[in-house]
Structure formats: C-alpha cells, structure tokens
C-alpha cells in the first residue's frame, strides 16, 4: 500500500436555499481544490462523488457522470456514493484505497447536495428513507425521532436525569454555534443563547430545534494523490494515516449496543490500527453532530471520554479549543450545516485547514493530527479517517 495524501481541498460556503445546481456547487469546490495544488482537470484519473438525494432535489440521479463532464474530466471513471450522511466519507475512503493500491495517482473525491430544494416536509420524508422503510419508517420515525430515542436511552442507560442531559445538549449546540459564528463558510454564522435554545420548539421529544442540524446546500471536494505525485503539488500534504468503515442493520438490529453505535466502534478500531494512533494522539475532531446527542455518543465511541461522561466534559469546557479535544471547530453539522452528501468531505476540509494552520481565530494551535467521523442513517454506515501533517 502506497502512502496517500490530500493535496488540495475546496469547499463552498454552506447555505440555506440558493439557486445553483449540485453539479455547479461541486464544480466550485473542485475548482478551489484543483487550483490550490495547481493540477489541470485532465490530470484527474477518477471521480468519487457523494450525493444522497439528487433524485429528489433536482430530479437528478447519475449525477457523477454529468459532474465529470462539467469539470472537463475527459471520460474518466466516475462513481456516485450513496451512504446517506456518510456518502462523501465513503467516497474519500474508496479514493484512498484506489490510490494506495497504485491504480491511480490523482483522484477527486467529495460530495454535493442541495437538500433545501426539497423543502422541510419532503426533506423529512426523504431523509427518513435512510432508516428502514419496513420496520422503522412504518412506525412513523423520522431522523430527529431516531436520535430522540437514543437520547432517552442514553439518559436511562447512564442514569443521567433528563434535565441534566438536556442542559448538556444545549451546551453542545451553543459551542457549535460559537465556532460557526467564526467560520466564514458556515450556514449559521451566529451564536446561540441558552435562552433561545430552551425556547426552541420540540421536534421529537426530548430534542428541540436547537438540537437539530439544518437542511443545507453545499459541496466539498478533495484532491487525493499518492505521496509521490503530491510532492510536485503541495508543500503541505495532509497524510491519510488511517481509514475505517463499517455497516450495521437498523436500530432494532443494534439492540445490544445502543446507545453506542457499534459500526462507529468497528470503524474507529480500523482507523486507529491503520494509523498506529489512538484517541490521545488526536488534537482536533470533526464528528457527526447531526443532533446534539449524536455528538456525545460519538465522543465516547471514538474513545475521547468514558461512556456516559461526555456531556459533563462538554459542560466543563473539555471539548473547546484548548481543552482535552477540540470538537467541531468548524461549527459542526449544527452550525456549519449538513449538505448530506458533502458532509464527510467538509469535515476533512476543516481538518486539512486546521493541520495547515489556516483557521484564524478558531485555529487549534500546533495541531498535528485530526480525525473525521461520519455516521450514515441510524448507524447503517460509519466512516472515519485520521489525518496528520505530512511535512
């Protein structure tokens, strides 16, 4: 296996409803990534593109072929990845494997989504398609509902009074917005007050609107290259030190593990093993906070805090920049936004920028190793990645 690096990274600003197509958004992010490392589009040998719901957003399936054409990629192989919220992460992982194998030297991987084109009722319906249509959606569960059930289960399993947990969850969202307010590419560039969080409407008990990430349009793209090829492209190659991916059945099939997400723990084991690193080595993490409770579950599943204790750690400031682990300095899915098929690439974009020291007032000083973690559906797909400075 050859060493593989991220030679360039691009990302659009994440927004609510906007007029451009997912292909155009992908094009913007790809241009930034390509220009950053000075390659020509015709040097790209394959395209791996995450896209969750183009079929419903723009009546566009098979978007990868038209994206490759739009970018002038001259007939190269192009694949679409649909792994729900983990689509782009699965695309990046496959790009890594293809480059590591020696088949390709330079590949584009990322994702694009125009979720807001659907409107909330249709988006709620289509997002629920990533849970099990036979045994979950029939009962009326939506995505907030999935994580709401995990929140109740978490409170009971770890014997945390719901009121205490709720306050911890508000703090998760307040922290996300604090960083979002400092990220010029975030959808919500404004802070959230405790009062506003408390007053927000209940979506699925116990979760309120302040616990939920928004629907988002946006794209993020990486240039993935072999270490050798990248020498000519960048002075700051970001090494993909470890990757992991795992799957699981619906929530009901995960009964012994919940509220832990078994697929996360399997994937993290792979990432840590491949990189030879552990949770203590990670300085910054971009993890899957689609709902506030999901951030607590992820912090524990990745090994940063013991089970049932990450809410208290958040309250004590241990997940802020300067704390034990810098959590989602981009603002996370909550404040930066969650264009589903692009999210994993956007997480990697933030880690790349953090490792290069380009994040301004939300920079984690001197950070050398970062991690991404992306959860698809109700744990059906889980991908994570460990990135480190390659210079």
């Amino acid at each position: 296996m050859r060493k593989v690096v991220i030679a360039g990274a691009g990302m659009t600003r994440f927004t609510g409803k906007q007029p451009r197509t997912a292909i155009e958004l992908f094009g913007d992010a790809a241009s930034e990534a390509i220009n950053e490392c000075g390659i020509q589009p015709r040097q790209v040998q394959a395209l791996f593109m995450g896209n969750f719901m183009g079929d419903f957003e723009e009546g566009q399936a098979h978007i990868q072929a038209f994206t490759a054409d739009y970018l002038g990629l001259a007939g190269i192989p192009a694949n679409r990845y649909e792994n729900a919220c983990a689509s782009a992460s699965a695309a990046i992982r496959d790009a890594f494997i293809w480059v590591a194998s020696g088949q390709y030297d330079i590949v584009l991987a990322g994702g694009a989504e125009c979720a807001t084109k659907m409107g909330t009722p249709l988006a709620t319906r289509t997002f629920a398609m990533a849970s099990d249509s036979r045994y979950e959606y029939a009962a009326g569960v939506t995505f907030p509902g999935v994580f709401a059930m995990l929140a109740h289960l978490y409170a009971r399993r770890y014997n945390i009074p719901l009121e205490t947990l709720k306050n911890q969850l508000y703090q998760v969202s307040i922290n996300s917005h604090y960083y979002g307010a400092r990220n010029p590419r975030a959808q919500f560039q404004k802070e959230l007050t405790l009062e506003d969080a408390r007053k927000s409407p209940v979506v699925a008990s116990p979760l309120q609107l302040a616990d939920c990430c928004p629907f988002t349009d946006g794209a993020a793209v990486l240039v993935i290259a072999s270490e050798d090829a990248a020498r000519k492209l960048t002075k700051k190659p970001v090494l993909i030190a470890g990757v992991g991916q795992a799957s699981a059945g619906n929530l009901l099939s995960q009964k012994e593990f919940l509220p832990r997400i078994r697929s996360r723990e399997l994937a993290a084991e792979q990432s840590y093993k491949m990189s030879g690193l552990g949770p203590k080595d990670i300085g910054v993490v971009e993890l899957h906070d689609c709902f506030s409770i999901a951030a607590l579950i992820a912090l524990e599943g990745l090994g940063f805090f013991p089970y049932g204790t990450s809410g208290r750690a958040v309250e004590k400031g241990e997940t802020k920049i300067g704390g034990k682990i810098a959590l989602n300095p981009s603002g996370g899915l909550k404040a930066k936004g969650h264009p589903v098929g692009a999210t994993g690439a956007a997480q990697a974009f933030e880690i790349v920028r953090q490792l290069r020291g380009e994040c301004g007032e939300r920079q984690v000083e001197g950070v050398k190793v970062g991690m991404t973690d992306t959860l698809g559906g109700d744990g059906g797909t889980l991908c994570n990645m460990i990135l480190r400075c390659g210079w």
Partner: protein, 136 residues
C-alpha cells in the same frame, strides 16, 4: 440458505395482528424481522415462529414534525419494545396521550394491542403495518 419468512408474509401476518419472527436452530436467537442468516451466530438454519407480542419499552419519542404525507398523524409516540423472546421491534403506544409520555414509561411492560398500517405513499411499495402496544 433459504428464506423462511419473507417481508410480504411478515407484513400480511402483522396486518392480521400476528407478529412473526425467526428462531435460529443453532443458538436460539430470535429475530423479529426476516433475515437469511442469524445475526448473532451466523447460523443459516432459521425457523419461523409467532411472537407473543409482549415485552417492555426500551425507549420512545413523541414526534411533532411530520414527514410529507403523515401530517395528520402528529403528535404520536414511537417506541422500541424489547419482546419477551428477545428481539426489539418499533411501533406506537396506544391508549396514552402523547403529551403525557415521559421517561417513566421506559421499562414499563406492554402488550401488542393490534396494529396500525402506513397506507404507503408514492415512494413506498404499498401498505406497511407496525405493532401498536398498550401499557399493562
């Protein structure tokens, strides 16, 4: 490997108030959804059985934001029940006002008391039933 229970059979049985499942001949694990292989031990000899429909609530939510086409149903309680035979199933809780559902219902014993049917929409492949439980 042979399918001993199809989704169609499971769904038709459920519509008629019968919750069906599979039991692994090797390890005894019971599944409340059709599958080819035992999730616990990997055994391929599964036998269909009827589940009693009694169990305890593991977790729940009250849903206030509907997906397209299900606006008339909100608010409603979604719950995961661990059946006495072991598997978890998702359904609704009847006979309890949604606004009165709190964490005190977690762990409470329930029994299946009929089913409700999602009529399907333009995206789904027809009617799909789910169990409705009642607190004991």
């Amino acid at each position: 490997m042979e399918a001993k229970l199809t989704f169609k059979e499971y769904n038709e049985n459920l519509k008629q108030g019968r919750l069906s499942g599979l039991k692994c001949s090797s390890c005894g694990e019971v599944s409340a959804q059709p599958r080819l292989i035992c999730a616990k031990c990997g055994g391929s000899q599964l036998e269909a059985l009827e589940l009693k429909g009694s169990g305890a609530i593991q977790t729940f939510t009250v849903n206030y934001v509907a997906a397209e086409g299900r606006e008339s149903e909100i608010p409603y309680i979604v719950a995961i029940v661990e059946l006495d035979e072991g598997p978890w199933v998702m359904g609704n809780i009847g006979g309890l006002k949604p606004e009165e559902a709190g964490m005190d219902i977690m762990g409470r014993k329930v029994r299946m008391d009929g089913t409700a049917v999602f009529a399907g929409d333009r995206y789904s492949s027809g009617e799909i039933a789910r169990p409705v439980f009642r607190l004991l």
